[in-house]
């Protein structure tokens, strides 16, 4: 579904990603792990078109994504739940979800999506009239996830959904994501610093360090790898 080949991108003239290659098949759950500054968020921003490509290729559902203007990419079925949540703080929770449903598919499936989002994340139903900026961090993360789901995406990209959350809240968000994945079979691409959780349910994983893929494989392979165990799992 998503195919990235020898991709180089960065800011101004400085490359942050070096020859990154990555494949996501339909229905898979892929995790990307790695330390701060490895280029994980940059990779997501490049897929969404916020960071300019330097060379290489990104294809989504057979289409050359780099030829699609950034604001059209959501309409192809890519939902990006960004790092730091980035909810529309001055819009109500419901309006945030409506903006998620800005795509044609989102508008078509609006009623049914909203019902499902409220069923998974009942707190959004309670708070639907409240301005998103007045919510707690965990609640804002749920708004961001709900907003992503509201577009009826083919691929949901989650950038550090646990960032800045208390451990118990982060666990809750993670459980919800797994519940949503079980219910829908949605294709997921996850960037996460909580490596143990990220690899636990993933089909495949990639380890990104200083802009390069240093390791890839099934999550079992990665969990068994000595370097991963030492550096990320604390074993």
């Amino acid at each position: 579904m998503l195919e990235i080949r020898n991709f180089v991108a960065g800011y101004s003239d400085v490359a942050v990603l070096h020859e990154v290659s990555l494949t996501v098949e339909a229905g898979q759950f892929i995790s990307i792990v790695g330390p701060n500054g490895a280029g994980k968020s940059t990779l997501f921003k490049a897929i969404s078109g916020i960071v300019a490509p330097m060379s290489g290729e990104i294809r989504f559902a057979g289409e050359d994504l780099l030829k699609v203007p950034p604001s059209r990419r959501a309409h192809l079925g890519i939902a990006h739940v960004p790092e730091g949540r980035q909810v529309f703080t001055s819009l109500s929770v419901l309006e945030n979800l409506e903006m998620g449903a800005y795509t044609r598919e989102g508008r078509r499936d609006w009623k049914q999506n909203l019902e499902r989002i409220f069923a998974w994340l009942p707190v959004l139903k309670q708070r639907r009239g409240q301005l998103a900026g007045t919510l707690s961090g965990g609640e804002q993360q749920m708004v961001a996830i709900g907003r992503g789901l509201a577009s009826s995406p083919k691929l949901l990209m989650l950038d550090e959904p646990s960032m800045g959350l208390a451990p118990a809240i982060a666990d809750f968000v993670f459980d919800k994501l797994m519940e949503i994945r079980r219910d829908t079979g949605l294709t997921l691409l996850l960037v996460e610093q909580r490596v143990a959780e990220a690899l636990q349910f993933a089909d495949r994983g990639y380890v990104l360090e200083t802009g390069r893929v240093v390791l890839e494989g099934s999550s079992e392979t990665l969990k068994a790898d000595d370097r991963v165990r030492r550096a990320y799992l604390g074993m």
Partner: protein, 318 residues
Amino acid sequence: MTDTQILVESVLQALVAGLFIGAIYGLMCVGLASIFGVMRVINFAQGDFMMLGMYVTYFAFVAFGAQAFGTAVGPFAAAIVAMPVMYGFGWAVHRLLISRVTGTRSAGMEAEGHYAQLILTLGVALVLQNGAMILFGAEMVSVRTPLSSAAWFVGPFGDGMALFVNQARTIAAAISLVVIVSLWLVIRRTNLGKSLRAAADNPEASIYMGIDVDRAHRVAFGLGTAITALAGGLLAANYPFHPFVGLDYVIIMYAGVVLGGIGSVPGAFWGGMTIGLVQQLSALVLPTQLQNATIFVFFLLIVILRPQGFFGRNVERT
């Protein structure tokens, strides 16, 4: 009539005048607020967009407004015709000029492109003022309707008190209110309005939602231009104008927007309304030459006492 009654009568008279002129100032400010609030672009040319709106109104009135609608309704019909014309003008100015120094293109610029925006809109203002001077000449022009000097007579009430309500200003104020309420409904309720607010709130996340942020900015810029131009067209029925009239009003507009709280559309309306009221009520006790000075004394007081404006959030101080 006793002295008290004469005083009460003149206060009421000034209040009515202030409310009506305030409604048009409010409209003007709302036009600026939708540009300033959505795009964070400081537009020095807003007063000159208004001046253009006045001339478009004038020419539309002379060309067909008077024949088609008569001299009573014609000026207002012409002002409404100026709206789509000026929407197109604003849209084009954004497409050709403003977009080069805003949005995604301003990312690498100094102060996020704000310097470039200031210089650019100042340049646009100068070109419009002097271009209008060449094309239209320096004489004062006005869109006269018999309603400009006609009044409704309210009263007598109390003990022989009576009010004169200028008909042209009443109609202008009514049109202002209708446009402001419609704009507010569009912004709050429609998908277009919500996407404009989202683009103002978080441009990056808006792109992730599939909102074309550059297009949203163009629409906001066109709307803001059209609304300020309509306010100009409505003022033209009572106030003669010339190519440099924009300077007088752009200051009122910024004062109104800041008073109301930056980024708030209803705030901008109340800011403009406040300025209209202060201006008219001050004329009761001060010579008319000091009207504008009073506005700024009041403005400074508000900025000192409530820096975020009437409707602003604490984080966005003037």
